[in-house]
């Protein structure tokens, strides 16, 4: 592949990663997913940097990406601590709970109604009844943690 072709391709992929990450950052409400999305944007940038570095025959791109990696690591450490902290306060990972930056006397952000769970009821295996029907354990009937 020609060098310039390589550069062009990488730039486009970098842009795509950046864009996808952006979508995630802007629209997902789970703080952790947002973090992932942000990292993804960094990846997009890193790709572009490396491609430019190679194209221009310069170590700068590589160096910068290494630094980005370092910063990302720090960022992850701090962020995870913060997320843990925030989660302890409210019991969820919803970013929309934290919206204290608004002007005084403004109405609070009201979430739209939670849609019904389209997972509906858990589907239990239908077996031929044999013996006594097992008593439904309240804990087991709960749907929690069937999907992690």
């Amino acid at each position: 592949m020609l060098e310039v072709q390589l550069l062009y391709n990488y730039l486009v992929i970098g842009a795509l990663l950046f864009g996808i990450g952006l979508v995630g950052l802007l629209s997902r409400r789970n703080m952790l997913i947002m973090f992932l999305a942000a990292e993804m944007m960094l990846q997009g940038v890193s790709l572009s940097l490396v491609a430019f570095g190679r194209f221009h025959n310069d170590w700068g791109g590589t160096t910068l990406v290494i630094l980005i990696l370092t910063v990302a690591a720090c960022e992850a450490a701090i962020l995870l601590a913060l997320v843990q902290c925030l989660f302890h306060r409210t019991g969820n990972l919803d970013i929309a709970v934290w919206h204290d930056l608004r002007d005084a006397n403004q109405p609070k952000f009201i979430d739209q109604e939670v849609p019904g769970d389209d997972a509906a009821k858990p589907e239990w295996p239908t077996l031929t009844p044999a013996g006594i029907e097992p008593e439904v354990d309240a804990d087991e009937a709960l749907e929690h943690r069937i999907h992690v």
Binding site: L2, N9, L17, I20, N30, R54, I66, A72, L93, L142
Partner: protein, 282 residues
């Protein structure tokens, strides 16, 4: 003029195909994002794919214009035709497809753990792309640092912090249409910019590559490159670069890591009895 060149001139010169691709991509992203309902996700995937495919085509055509018909005739058709022979284009295309697809998946899946795992795959793709670029160290470092350390920590946190049942906020998106469209617009703008940077406006019937580009594509320059950034002692090169020119930056980065460590500990320590704790107790 070959068919590809014809295609290229018809597609590249006006910019609306880019817009169309970006729009398709945006629409697909929107459909893919969690919206409280699962309907339309497949359609979204399809649309998104269509958009990306169009984009790929456009990128290729852009290359045709930038590098001239010769490169096209030599590289383009054989690349596809010999794809089953694991040509280097095929490797690149696969890596790119994996990266982009897993990236899309990682931001659109509803369940955070899946997202994390898709993200891991995305990182793999990126690492592969790094390797493909000849940046071995970065490829390995990405896997070690991101996939190995960061992602695992995230998974830890997810395990610790995911509430009971389906979290409602994972089934809702914030301003999904607007953000998708914005991202699409950005991608479109970036590609158009790149494309237009690589070609000068058409004079006569054929756009020409700019002069600076030509300078960077000479064989001499390539030889220079293989002595420097693409040399065999890649790691030695990085080390020399890092510890000579960027010594201070490296030191600062090291300090930063330490500070972050201390900071994370301090923040984590400050967690006290909370609402969630009481909520869980009740």
């Amino acid at each position: 003029m070959s068919a590809a060149a014809l295609l290229a001139t018809t597609l590249i010169t006006p910019q609306w195909p880019y817009a169309l691709a970006a729009l398709l991509f945006a629409a697909g992203m929107w459909l893919l994002l969690p919206r409280g309902a699962a309907r339309g996700r497949r359609l979204g995937a399809g649309v998104c794919l269509a958009g990306l495919a169009l984009l790929t085509l456009l990128v290729h055509c852009g290359m045709v214009v930038a590098c001239g018909e010769e490169s096209c005739d030599v590289k383009w058709l054989p690349a596809l035709s010999t794809s089953l022979g694991l040509g280097e284009d095929f490797v690149f295309l696969t890596l790119a497809a994996v990266t982009v697809a897993s990236a899309i998946a990682s931001v659109t899946f509803r369940k955070p753990v899946y997202c994390a795992i898709w993200f891991a795959l995305c990182l793999m793709g990126v690492a592969g792309l790094f390797l493909y670029q000849g940046a071995q160290f970065l490829g390995v470092a990405t896997i070690v640092v991101y996939a190995g350390a960061i992602l695992v920590t995230i998974l830890f946190v997810l395990m610790l912090a995911t509430p009971e049942g389906h979290a409602y906020y994972d089934r809702l998106s914030w301003e999904a249409p607007l953000s998708s469209v914005l991202a699409g617009v950005l991608v479109g703008l970036l590609t158009i910019t790149t494309a237009s940077a690589l070609t000068t406006p058409p004079t006569g019937d054929k756009p020409a590559a700019p002069a600076w580009l030509a300078a960077k594509t000479t064989d001499a320059y390539h030889a220079e490159r293989s002595k420097n950034i693409l040399n065999d002692n890649h790691l030695a090169g990085i080390g020399r670069e890092l510890f000579s020119k960027h010594l201070i930056a490296v030191e600062v980065a090291g300090t930063l890591l330490l500070v972050a460590l201390v900071g994370a500990v301090a923040i984590a320590q400050s967690i006290g009895p909370t609402a969630s704790a009481t909520k869980r107790d009740s």
